[in-house]
Symmetry: C2
Subunit: 324 residues, 2 copies
DNA sequence: TTGTACGCGTTATCAA
DNA sequence: TTGATAACGCGTACAA
């Protein structure tokens, strides 16, 4: 393939002039510009971007660390990231890490290697002290509050949002409240657990360990929960469930067994997923798309100079439908 | 940041020796190797990968072109791609193009630019004749049958799979059959339309344009279809629906209005999505995950030398549940 | 087993 | 407005 030197030789100019044309720099006479463009056309020339990356020290790429893409939560965040990246003419490197910290560190090392200009971390497998040393190599944005750390973040107040949902259930008169969660030790899951425990304590409500169910990730897990509830001697009046698709599974299975919702069991979802709208599930919207787009915008600003870390809090809101 | 020259100087060896250590090449004495490793450690050195990419002519990255990531179909394919890429230690550049051909061409040009080693096209916005010229620049794999074209593909036999579903409905005694599709002019959607029309013609069944409904993409669209069906003077006995989540919307809404499924309306889904399992929707599994992983494996093989185009056909199978 | 020197393809610098 | 040349950081042919 032709290179810039050959273009210069054939067009009868210097490589500098060719470079100026390629980059739309001023101070190129009309004659030479057209001569260069014509030669480029003739030889079907394009730049080798690796050389550009080497000399400029930039790649126009940002890596995204997420545990899995095939999940409503992450694919919506990714959508937001991708649309923002498309607008900014940036490339996104999708690094699906399955929550394996070693894989996530590899991505951070790409920042050191100059393979990328920045990183967005949507996963939560890495502890802040693992991330921090990499700030020296380029901008990093996480999706949980980075507080006093030297990197930026876009975050949801998981505690407050979940607490808000619980208070809503309480305001509707529910006192016996159960809770479904995904991974027991997930970072935001832990926060929601605290919110749940604190809520019970403050309101003086009883805690029944049987009403707190973990590893609810898929629709079928929700259905399984419904069956467990039906078997209980003492059943909660209301369930708060992280993830509308899990709530959907619970609702469909419960109704199949003749349990009426919300009369016999109120259900509050989380994350405002499409299935929730269909089943009219009362839920909490967490602005996941905005989380993605905001994360990209912040990393993009950092790449272009703004160096002070930013923490952006996203709003949440209850969507009242008909399952509570 | 330190570079290889500085490491060599401080370690008291040549850059060649450092390079050999970095790349685990043989013929380096133990002494020099440890000296180099020690210096690397001390100076916190890592390679600038852009220089490596420039000199080697490879980047270890593959781009994926897809219209949107926030959709069950594409996120499952992407999952397959990502897992295969992770195993092969490759990076994946996610290019969400919203079906805009210009954006997809930009990605193909990245191949020309040497920014990537290969491309997987999951979208269908580009015509084969648009793709073909780019084969000169590196391996390309598409997700629809590439036939005699000079690039590879992994594909589902959309015609046969859909036809199989229709025959299944027919074998169950259904004669008045309706059909829900996503984008009317989508590439695989058009194929399914032909299958549908051919099926009706062969079986001598009537075609009612009212029973063929397009733009069904979300759960709510399925619910809307249910309402339309309920209003019809003459209603189909069975519906075949591209996408289980659309089928789910239809089923839930139909049942809400007292229509019993499958007795009064049989429903056949497509794509075997999680929601379909929960609602016990009879559907056709299209091996989307395998589509992604196979696509990556093929492009990976091409990158490492194998140059003959491959077309890999994936199997489909009916999953009999209880809505037909 | 080791080192010298060149090449990869581009942009930046500076003098003209 | 133009061009010669340095610089980016690394891999490798070839010589020793």
């Amino acid at each position: 393939m032709a290179n810039i030197k050959e273009i210069a030789r054939i067009a009868g100019v210097s490589v500098t002039t060719v470079s100026r044309v390629l980059n739309n720099h001023p101070y190129v006479s009309k004659d030479k510009r057209t001569a260069v463009l014509k030669t480029i056309e003739q030889l079907n020339y394009t730049r080798n971007m690796n050389a550009v990356h080497l000399i400029t020290g930039r790649t126009g790429a940002v890596a995204v660390i997420l545990p899995m893409i095939n999940s409503f939560y992450f694919s919506v965040v990714m959508d937001g990231l991708a649309q923002a990246a498309l607008m900014a003419q940036y490339r996104l490197i999708l690094c699906q890490t399955n929550y394996v910290p070693e894989e996530e560190l590899k991505v951070l090392n790409m920042l050191r290697n100059k393979e990328i200009d920045g990183v967005v971390i949507v996963s939560t497998a890495l502890k802040p002290e693992m991330i921090e040393p990499y700030c020296a190599y380029g901008p990093i944005v996480t999706c949980q509050n980075s507080g006093e750390r030297p990197y930026s973040s876009v975050y949801i107040e998981h505690y407050a949002a979940f607490r808000h949902g619980l208070d809503y259930l309480h305001s509707k008169g529910h006192r016996k409240i159960g809770y479904c969660e995904g991974r027991e030790n997930g970072s935001s899951a832990s926060i929601r657990q605290s919110a749940f425990q604190d809520f019970l304590a403050e309101k003086g409500l009883p805690f029944d360990p049987e009403w707190m169910i973990f590893d609810c990730v898929r629709e079928e897990d929700g259905a399984e929960v419904a069956r467990r509830l039906l078997d209980m001697r003492s059943r909660p009046e209301a369930m708060i469930i992280s993830g509308d698709h899990v709530a959907a599974g619970l609702i469909i299975e419960a109704r199949k067994h003749g349990l009426s919702i919300p009369e016999e069991l109120a259900v509050m979802g989380f994350d405002n997923q499409p299935i929730g709208r269909l089943l009219e599930i009362t839920t909490i919207d967490n602005q996941l798309y905005q989380m993605g787009s905001a994360a990209f915008e912040i990393v993009h600003k950092h790449i272009h100079g703004s160096s002070l870390p930013v923490t952006r809090k996203l709003e949440y809101r209850i969507i009242e439908r008909s399952t509570v």
